[in-house]
């Protein structure tokens, strides 16, 4: 009897142990379901894969234009074809971006997934009003790509997002490539969402964003051209979108837009040029194309010891008195630009003889240096002097160079920076001339 009782007890103990182990094993199995994403699963056909987002401000509401991936079949193979537009457009509006996204889901009947979003385009009207709140949705969302490009549309974001691009599988992908290529060619600087947010977060920095414009055929074509309209069989333009400059933001609001040489001046100062083409004119050459293949810019702050050295002693001079005592010429910035270039193409002036020699190259280098000085001065005047926008990290450079001086300046920095002097010291070396020494016509 005792043996049976012991046996029963042992069996019960074994069973309870097995039960416990079974429960724990089940719990572990549950965990694998949760951690592998099998909970609240959404099939691919239930998701709308957003590729580009356009945000406009219209009638006191946020208007969203979403470019959603919608592959068109390429015939028998069933793959994705590059010839048709593999995208659909969804439009919605709301008081906030979140509300507009929710409304877009109702229109589409799918859940909007922004994890693959490549570009965020903000309309000019919203940019002038302030975009911080509009992009907050993307910065707080964990699924959103914080490294998506952020751009400003010259007019409406919808124009850019809905533009017909006859290249590649996805219009948004081409849009991203346009931005990357423009950045590589030194036409403008591509800005990612997190870079813009970082600039906004800094108490004295100002932000910049590239501007894209839409080349409307109606806008461009003259009356004669309209009469000689190409036939429907003519090959279409690849893309009606082009880089139109850089927008300057102060306190999250767009205040200015730079174009042409000003943009490159901005890029020289920000050390953002990887490769660019400088076209100059000289006595010999009507045009000479210089391809800058290597460039490096250093922006240095110089402090006048006699004034700033004394000012630097915090505690001896009250903060209130400091801005008056810091002379206008106390801080000077020096920009050193070192370029190495290839002489790519030349067009001679009428009657001029083409000889690629040390003199003509030195002449071109000198002219290129002057051009860089002009471009940098134009950018500096339009941003710092005219708008009090610190897009060159001047405040941070002063802070790193002389902490005490920065403490005197920081409270009135937007005004104080307007009195800063800039010296540009470019070095332009043309050390490659290609494979032909005698050229031009």
């Amino acid at each position: 009897m005792i043996n049976i009782t012991i046996k029963i007890r042992k069996t019960a103990s074994l069973l309870s142990k097995r039960l416990l182990q079974g429960c724990l094993a089940l719990l572990i199995l549950c965990n694998t379901f949760i951690l592998s994403g099998c909970l609240h699963a959404l099939q691919l056909n239930e998701r709308a894969l957003v590729q580009a987002v356009g945000i406009d401000w219209e009638d006191e509401r946020i208007k969203l234009t979403l470019q959603v991936f919608s592959p068109a079949a390429s015939g028998s193979g069933g793959g994705i074809s590059a010839s048709p537009q593999n995208a659909n457009i969804i439009e919605s509006s709301g008081r906030t971006v979140t509300e507009a996204f929710q409304n877009a889901s109702l229109v589409q009947g799918k859940e909007m997934f922004i994890g693959h979003n490549r570009v965020i385009v903000v309309g000019a009207a919203l940019a002038k009003r302030g975009i911080e709140q509009a992009i907050a949705f993307f910065s707080s969302s964990s699924t959103a790509r914080h490294n998506a490009y952020l751009v400003i549309a010259e007019t409406e974001a919808k124009e850019i997002v809905t533009a017909k691009i006859n290249q590649g599988i996805l219009p948004a992908e081409t849009l991203e490539r346009i931005l990357e290529n423009a950045e590589m060619s030194g036409i403008f600087e591509g800005v990612k969402l997190y870079e813009f947010l970082t600039s906004l977060q800094n108490e004295h920095d100002s932000a910049i964003l590239p501007v894209l414009a839409y080349k409307s055929e109606e806008k461009e074509a003259s009356a004669d051209e309209k009469e000689n309209k190409p036939s429907e069989d003519a090959i279409e333009n690849v893309s009606p979108i082009f880089a139109d400059g850089m927008a300057i933001f102060v306190d999250g609001k767009m205040v200015e837009s730079l174009r042409g040489g000003e943009v490159r001046g901005l890029l020289w100062m920000r050390n953002s040029i990887k490769d660019t083409l400088v076209t100059v004119q000289s006595e010999v050459y009507q045009n000479a194309a210089l391809n800058v293949y290597s460039t490096k810019s250093h922006l240095l702050a110089n402090f006048k010891e006699d004034k700033v050295g004394k000012m630097g002693k915090i505690g001896k001079i009250g903060k209130e008195d400091a801005p008056d005592k810091l002379g206008d010429d106390s801080i000077t910035f020096t920009l050193k630009v070192d370029c190495q270039a290839t002489l790519k193409e030349t067009t001679l002036r009428e009657g001029a003889q083409n000889k690629v020699n040390h003199e003509s190259i030195a002449d071109l280098s000198q002219i290129a240096c002057e051009l860089i000085k002009e471009e940098v001065a134009a950018a500096f005047n339009r941003t710092v002097i005219a708008n009090g926008a610190d897009v060159f990290n001047l405040g941070n450079i002063i802070l790193k160079g002389n902490k005490e001086v920065w403490q005197l300046l920081r409270d009135d920095w937007p005004n104080k920076m307007k009195s800063i002097k800039l010296i540009v010291e470019p070095t332009f070396i043309i050390d490659r001339v290609g494979s032909e020494l005698e050229r031009g016509a």
Binding site: L24, L27, I28, C30, N31, I34, L35, L39, H40, S142, R145, H146, N147, K192, Y194, L197, T198, Q201, N202, E203, N393, N396, I397, L399, K400, K403, W406, Q407, R410
Partner: protein, 386 residues
């Protein structure tokens, strides 16, 4: 209660289990470092005082120095009493001291255990599954970790070794990919109360370090094997220096990457390291947050399991004989309830993240000093039997 039985769960290991309970010094260091890394990866500026990147960098260096100094009494004690822990010494003196010491350490470890589960919950429900219930995550994570805790220290240590290597490779990859996105201008000199902010961050980091307390409690379980001596106790200085230095390398690297890439943006991010990994990219990968997620889940598992294991050990020391078998399930239930509560009431998460200077100083300095005097009294009495 006799000394042997009371200290059994934590220190005096039965002979048949001894082989599976001792771990080597490298295993021990890797285990603690992996557990420590959880705090760096789950750092939420919202729950503590926002600190500039530069203050974080200097602060993490200073915190290593502070810990190095704070641990001196323990090193002294463990050199004097090899193979014993603070708790064993207290039990040997008197059971009241034993209960007191074990109880204090248990409460401390339990708070970190709950904090670990709540931190895991907070990340998962904020980033991975915004629609998931807090309790689902808490129960499953607790279940897995308590089950793993049941399987002993050696298994967890071996796993930590693998995770340590995986994490180090992941961090190296993230660091290399971050290089193009780094801006050294983001690391700025401090102007607003620099000394205060560095000191505050350093003290806060040093005091919110449960792994150093783990080192105190688990050190007697570290053995090294040599042909000449066989298995024997290792130097506590080596273990401490290893933990502090390797943790510092990881913490400093993480802080540096966050500061150099995110700059001022890091202060506004809920999970700065996660933000960093979701931003950086190379041609092959558009984001590296998947690398972070995998290592983070593994690191969280080690952190919670280690705390659960030590908490169970300590609770078993306090409980009377028959009640000991309920220590693990009771602690499981209590942990789940408290973690869910913390997960729902985020204002309490903020309070839970407040540095507890006094508690840490007591555990690191005060109790070891008391233990030292207790051992002295004991030795004197043993030396002069009247």
């Amino acid at each position: 209660m006799t000394i042997g039985s009371s200290a059994q769960a934590c220190i005096a290991i039965p002979k048949n289990q001894a082989a599976s309970q001792y771990i080597s010094l490298p295993q021990f260091i890797m285990l603690l470092v992996v557990s420590r890394v959880f705090n760096d990866l789950t750092y939420v500026p919202f729950f503590s005082k926002p600190v500039e990147g530069t203050a974080m960098l200097y602060g993490s260096l200073l915190s290593a120095v502070i810990l190095g100094i704070a641990i001196l009494p323990i090193l002294f004690l463990y050199n004097k009493h090899p193979g014993e822990s603070v708790i064993t010494i207290a039990w040997k003196r008197h059971k009241v001291w034993g209960y007191l010491f074990t109880g204090v350490y248990f409460i401390y470890i339990f708070i970190y255990l709950v904090g670990g589960i709540a931190g895991f919950d907070y990340f998962v429900t904020n980033v991975v599954y915004p629609k998931a219930s807090v309790w689902v995550i808490a129960i499953t994570m607790c279940g897995v970790c308590f089950f793993a805790a049941k399987n002993g220290l050696q298994g967890l240590s071996r796993l930590s070794g693998i995770i340590f290597v995986f994490f180090a490779i992941g961090l190296l990859l993230i660091a290399l990919v971050s290089i193009p996105s780094m801006k050294m201008l983001n690391i700025k000199p401090l102007i607003d109360k620099p000394v205060e902010s560095i000191l505050s961050y350093a003290v806060s980091t040093a005091t919110k370090n449960s792994e150093i307390v783990m080192l105190i409690l688990l050190f007697p379980k570290v053995r090294t094997h040599t042909q000449r001596k066989g298995k024997h106790q290792v130097s506590p200085v080596k273990a401490t220096m290893g933990l502090i230095l390797i943790s510092l390398i990881f913490t400093f690297t993480i802080d540096f990457l966050i500061s150099a890439v995110l700059g001022d943006l890091s202060v506004t991010q809920t999970f700065p390291y996660f933000s960093l990994t979701s931003i950086i990219e190379i041609d092959l990968f558009q984001r590296l947050d998947a690398v972070h997620m995998v290592t983070w889940v593994c690191v969280a598992f080690v952190h919670v399991t280690l705390h659960a294991m030590v908490a169970i050990m300590l609770l078993k020391d306090i409980l009377p004989g028959k009640a000991r078998k309920f220590a693990s399930p009771a602690l499981f239930v209590l942990t789940v309830i408290m973690a869910i509560w913390l997960g729902i009431r985020t204002e309490w998460m903020k309070i839970a993240n407040t540095p507890t200077y006094f508690v840490t100083i007591s555990l690191l300095i005060l109790l070891p000093i008391i233990a030292f005097f207790l051992s002295k009294i004991k030795t004197k009495r043993e030396g002069n039997p009247e």
